[in-house]
Amino acid sequence: MKKQLAYIIAFLFLAIHFNASAQVPLLNSYSAAVATVYLDFDGAEVDGTIWNENGKISAATSGLSPASITWIHRMISEHFNLFNLNITTDPAVYDRAPVHQRIRIIITPDGNWYGPATGVSAIGSFVWGDDTPAWVFMNPLSNNASFIAAAATHQIGHTLGLQHQSVYDSYGSMITELSGGESNIFSNQAPLMGIPFYKQASWKDGHPSTGAQRIQSDTAEIAGAPNNIGYRKTSEQVVSPESSVKIERHEPGTIELSSSGNYTYRIFDISGRLLTQGFLKPGYNEIHTNSSSTGIVVLQWTGESVSGSQKIIL
């Protein structure tokens, strides 16, 4: 009887173990890219890194459902779909990536070993080459999938060298290190490298926490040295023939276009600097850019399951 009970318990333990490890769907946002961000949802043992002042860290599995993981992966991937970068949940893809172009983001319930925070990372660790991971702690985020995706994107930004987007007064004194989009209270926009949870968050050109006299262009920093990721080729964007954005007319300062659905859009210059962003509604749309923005710009648009981009000569 005891032996049978032991077999049953062992079987249940194995079943739970396999179920837990089988729960992480293997997803890739852009398999063509070698530069890789690995979202690690299934727990980890971490040792021999700057996080290990007090010995080994055992990070518990996230416990998220495959549907939640898929949704979080998609949300994060959308923020990086401009770049030649693969967001993966597959550890084998991470292992194959170049050591100086990869980072592991451990998404785990508890960060007690560190203290009260929604996550932590070492700035620029994407290129360190020593597999130092970054962290997202789910409990302080109320296990909310939207918050987890925003926090993970923020931490990935740090590992790619980004500092916080901050707010300064006219004398250059810092008002707040983390911008929540206060510069325009009527706007629903906030920087991903500020507080990305309560408004529509995106990459920004702004003053970083390192000083009011500096400008941090998030997109240019991610794409450029030392990460050397670059941008995706526009022909490789996913474009559904039924869902599209068509340029009707353009001139310096104005772009008129027709949209087949509700999309977010961003316009960049060829160096990757964000010029403007917003929303497209179905039908006719008019986008106003700075009239001094001439030359080649890139329009990128993203919807629920499709995205696309195209070059426009202004």
Binding site: D47, G48, T49, I50, W51, N52, E53, P98, V99, H100, Y114, G115, A117, T118, G119, V120, S121, A122, I123, W128, G129, D130, D131, T132, H158, Q163, H164, E177, S209, T210, G211, R214
Partner: protein, 141 residues
Amino acid sequence: MNTLKTILSCFCLLFSLLLSAQKKESPTDIPYSNKIEVSNQALESLFQSAENISIDMAPGFHLNGKIQNKSEHGSSVTSLLIKVESRPGGMLSISRYKDPKGNIVYAGHLLKLHDADGMMLVEKDQHYYLVETQQRFLVAE
């Protein structure tokens, strides 16, 4: 006339010296309070050390510590994690790798979690510096 030439030459010399000095004074684009130049030999000796380390990294900067971890990442990167006894609780993480041109490159950080300040190893014009900066520029939440 000769006096004028001498004065102008002196100005030029002074100006070029100032420029080169300024160049050396900014090994990083983040604000920092202090910098210490460390030699390649001192950095390399860390990787040749056994468990315990006692090395003069620079004049006035002696490193006492113990290697907690030594690991290889891929075929090109060797990393050390050193518990620094002269800075209680501090961890020096340092990596050595070859760049695409075959040059040996070092990168690293000296941190203690939740401390106000940390140090970053940076290379500028083939010189290595440990620069002291606010830790929030090195580790962020």
